[in-house]
């Protein structure tokens, strides 16, 4: 009988191994799928049980907090200042999910990121709650951008040149994030295309034609090639025939031999078209790549809400093209040829020039503070470099050239009394027959010790120009940022 008993035990051993394997399956192998299952309320309820940390602006203004409800769960409340930066802050509700900073910093805000000291204090019975997040957002700069856009659809960003912190990210129209709590109003906001799709972040998601602001990139490519200096003479005569179609200067004005600086100051299309044709596609592609075109920017913001700037296919708007000789490089150089850019990317172009040719890594968060007041992480005042775009010398030259734009060229409306401002205007034509334009301005200040870089655009004006319509908004934002 003993043999049978031993055999039976082996069988039972096998059954128990199966039990263990079954447990491994659900706890390890398929755990992620189960946690992501839409019928699994646990992950959401876990977060609703713990109050999220607050989000505050850099100046301490409260943006978002969690309020306890009668059923014991917590619900998010957003302040007026959060509404002004609604796309940047985003929202966090059990029904409509999470977006913006609320999404990107979910782990911070729900307290998943903890120090050992915080864990100890939780063991001592201190009530559990998420970490507080202090944003880099400066409400006054944001307000200045909003005021400047004044109800018109558009976007504006302001970047701290030193740290890479996002001081302002305006996208109009905006919305009240508190409304996302309710299913009906949430879907209304998310599907309101007639009302300008307020949930859509124009600063990071909209692909706009950059107009002449792109000449900053072309100039950088020219300077970096070594063949050009600010005083190199270029041909600004108009028109220029490019691939059988005439290319004209603004107001059909024809310039003769002018310096590269003069070409930028007066935004001479034909001069830059010739420069690009002379350079060829490769240096342009290198410069664009270095500025961060062709991929989504380096920023702590959800990937799904970021758009990669670059040249897109004429027939397939989602197809990003490689910059090579197949493209009409002369038109790329002046911001045409299906070039689609986000205001954030153009802000990065200005910031990279301002930062002595170093592309900054962007951040929306200044500081993360645990419930006991300990700082868990903090944005370095010197920021983080995301790669060199051009030499320091070329950056200094380009800065001087952009200063001229504001001193005597198309961007004089951006001038600040007592401060040196560098910038570049742009006016993209959206509908020539109806004279619909999209004004742009990118720039930074002070030119001798850059602190803030901005990019501003208004989606649609009748006959507006970058110098007249966008530059004053940029000036107001820079003024607030430097105050």
């Amino acid at each position: 009988m003993n043999q049978g008993i031993r055999r039976l035990f082996v069988l039972i051993l096998g059954l128990f191994v199966l039990l263990l394997a079954g447990t491994v399956r659900w706890t390890v192998i398929e755990a992620d799928e189960l946690n992501a299952n839409s019928r699994n309320a646990r992950p959401l309820l876990q977060t609703a049980r713990v109050p999220r940390g607050t989000i505050r602006a850099a100046d301490g203004t409260l943006l978002a907090r969690s309020v306890k409800q009668s059923d014991g769960t917590y619900v998010r409340r957003y302040t007026q200042e959060a509404q002004q930066a609604s796309q940047l802050i985003g929202w966090a509700y059990t029904n409509s999910g999470v977006s913006g900073m609320e999404k990107e910093h979910q782990d911070d805000l729900t307290g998943k990121v903890r120090s050992a000291a915080t864990l100890l204090s939780a063991l001592r019975g201190n009530t559990e709650r998420g970490n507080d997040v202090v944003a880099t957002l400066e409400p006054k700069v944001q307000q200045a951008g909003l005021n400047g856009l004044n109800g018109r659809r558009g976007a504006a960003v302001a970047i701290d040149v030193k740290s890479g912190g996002v001081l302002a990210m305006v996208s109009t129209p905006n919305f009240d994030p508190n409304q996302m709590r309710n299913n009906d109003s949430a879907s209304r906001i998310q599907n309101d295309s007639a009302g300008g799709s307020p949930a859509f972040n124009r600063a990071t998601q909209a692909g706009y034609p950059p107009g002449s602001t792109f000449k900053v990139v072309t100039t950088a490519a020219a300077l970096e090639s070594g063949d050009y200096t600010p005083t190199t003479l270029v041909d600004g005569s108009s028109p220029l025939k490019v691939e059988t179609v005439d290319l004209n200067n603004f107001g059909r004005k024809s310039y003769g031999k002018i310096t590269l600086t003069q070409a930028l100051t007066n935004s001479v299309n034909t001069a830059f078209a010739r420069v690009a044709e002379d350079l060829g596609a490769a240096p342009m592609a290198d410069a664009m790549d270095a500025f961060g075109f062709g991929k989504i920017p380096l920023i702590d913001y959800p990937d799904q809400q970021l758009y990669a700037s670059g040249v897109y296919d004429r027939d397939d708007a989602s197809q990003l093209l490689e910059v090579n000789d197949d493209l009409d490089i002369a038109r790329v150089a002046i911001g045409q040829e299906r070039l689609r850019v986000t205001p954030l990317q153009m802000g990065l172009v200005a910031a990279a020039v301002a930062r002595d040719g170093q592309l900054p890594r962007l951040s929306t968060v200044q500081r993360v503070v645990d419930p006991d007041g300990r700082t868990l992480s903090e944005l370095d005042a010197d920021g983080d470099d995301a790669g060199r775009v051009m030499s320091e010398r070329d950056a200094a030259d380009l800065t001087a050239m952009m200063e001229k734009v504001v001193e005597e060229g198309s961007g004089t409306a951006a001038a600040l009394s007592g401060l040196r401002v560098a910038g570049k205007t742009g006016t993209a034509e959206r509908n020539i027959r109806e004279n619909v334009t999209q004004p742009w301005f990118i720039g930074f200040a002070p030119a001798d010790d850059p602190q803030v870089a901005v990019a501003v655009t208004i989606e649609r004006t009748i006959g507006g120009t970058g110098g007249v319509d966008a530059a004053p908004i940029a000036r107001a934002m820079m003024e607030e940022a430097l105050r």
Partner: protein
């Protein structure tokens, strides 16, 4: 001798540690402070374990010393989890424990001379078992729950007779097979030259068959699987012929198929088991909702678990509905995985395996075939019970509700399993004493 006693008591240290740490972490996780009352709970419960241990060790000094401490670990673990669900559940469980230890002591006391007297009462025992299974259907005692008639209402207490009836079946089979196994093997003829004359099998098949019919009658499929499995196992070990389990399993497959066609509740169970995450089945009454929630709870636990007291048990702080229904009995394993993770669950399974191993060891060293078959049957039925419920919760097999021995809340289960433990210890004590005495005699003979 004194050293051995000290060792025996020291074996209870793991259980004590578990109670202390368990209660402390439930408190820490639920944001309370450690109160004297809760420590008293743990201490009292531990006291009970020590009492049981002392009773067993003094009445049965030669019995396996590891079985009771292992079961104490299980019981303490269950108590911590029940305490974590609801304080009153833990209090109830502790009360049942006192009764269980009472039944344990009574069994040992009554059978201390020779448990083998049970062998002579097998027909009476079989009759008692069948009657017990019939009880839940008797009007006035009936207490249906989820379409199954599992329990009888004895005043305020609901009692599940299947738990005790399983002991009756094992006793009957052990006794019958011990008496007739020679005949079953030797008189093997039949179509394959293997089947013994039906007359030797008939009484066995009758009792076994009636039991099975009763179980389907009260709709306790989980217990039916246990009973059937233990019958096959004992028949196999008694005769050494693989043909019995093969024929048995074939019959089982046919029977299961037939039942599947006849019983819509069983069809529902199988459907839910095949695709528990199907949203339609989750929402269906009697569908896969519970099973899916159990799987979600396990996924939540992951490798290390949420910590004792850390699993999500209520939708909202004030809400009555739970994302893990039946956590105190059928789904306690899912709750355990959720709180102590894969690591803790592996530990639990290991403890069950150790208990089964000790049980099989008793069967191996026992001297007579009744004792062997009894120990084997008890250990097997215990192992199958663990497999049926844990396998159901982990979706290895369709879910059928049986208790997780010594861990789930449930009085009849605890009392019955304490009796099971008492019987195992009785067999063990006898077997090891006989071995010891044989050895002594042999030594003396050699010396002489």
């Amino acid at each position: 001798m004194i050293l051995r006693r000290i060792r025996d008591l020291a074996l209870l240290i793991p259980a004590s540690l578990l109670v202390a740490i368990g209660f402390a972490s439930v408190f820490a996780n639920q944001g309370g402070q450690l109160s004297d009352l809760s420590l008293l709970y743990g201490a009292g419960f531990l006291g009970l374990c020590i009492v049981a241990h002392v009773i067993a060790m003094s009445a049965l000094p030669d019995a396996d010393p590891y079985l009771l401490p292992l079961i104490a670990v299980l019981a303490c673990f269950g108590l911590v989890e029940l305490y974590r669900i609801d304080e009153s559940l833990a209090r109830q469980q502790a009360t049942w424990f006192i009764l269980g230890i009472g039944a344990f002591s009574a069994t040992i006391f009554l059978l201390r001379k020779d448990y083998r007297v049970l062998r002579d009462y097998r027909n009476l025992i079989a009759l008692a078992g069948v009657l017990m299974l019939l009880a839940p259907r008797i009007p006035g005692l009936s207490n249906p729950e989820n379409g199954a008639y599992l329990s009888v209402a004895l005043g305020p207490v609901a009692f599940q007779p299947t738990e005790l009836a399983k002991l009756c079946l094992v006793l009957y089979l052990a006794s019958y097979l011990a008496d007739n196994r020679q005949l079953l093997v030797q008189e093997a003829r039949g179509p394959f030259g293997l089947l013994p004359p039906l007359k030797y099998l008939l009484p066995l098949l009758a009792v076994w068959g009636v039991t099975m019919v009763m179980l389907f009658f009260i709709q306790d499929i989980g217990s039916a699987i246990m009973y059937f499995g233990v019958g096959l196992a004992m028949l196999y070990v008694a005769t050494g012929r693989l043909l019995y389990p093969v024929v048995g399993l074939t019959l089982f497959a046919f029977g299961a198929r037939l039942l599947y066609e006849l019983r819509p509740t069983i069809q529902n169970r199988v459907e839910a088991w095949q695709d528990p995450l199907n949203p339609e089945l989750i929402d269906k009454v009697g569908g896969s909702g519970q099973l899916a929630q159990g799987l979600f709870a396990q996924a939540d636990g992951g490798m290390l678990g949420e910590g004792l007291g850390g699993s999500l048990m209520r939708y909202f702080e004030t809400g009555a509905t739970s994302p893990l229904p039946a956590a105190k009995n059928d789904f306690i394993y899912a709750l355990i995985v959720s709180e102590v993770g894969l690591i803790g669950a592996a530990g639990l399974i290991l403890i069950y395996l150790l208990i089964v191993w000790r049980g099989f060891k008793v069967a191996l060293v026992a001297h007579d075939s009744f004792s062997k078959l009894l120990a084997l049957g008890l250990a097997t039925v215990f192992a199958l019970q663990v497999f049926v419920i844990v396998g159901g919760v982990t979706k290895l097999i369709p879910l059928t509700g049986v208790t997780l021995p010594f861990v789930s809340s449930g009085g009849s289960s605890i009392v019955a399993n304490f009796v099971l433990l008492a019987l195992l210890l009785l067999v063990s004590d006898r077997a090891r004493r006989d071995t010891r005495e044989d050895l002594q005699r042999a030594k003396m003979g050699a010396w002489r």
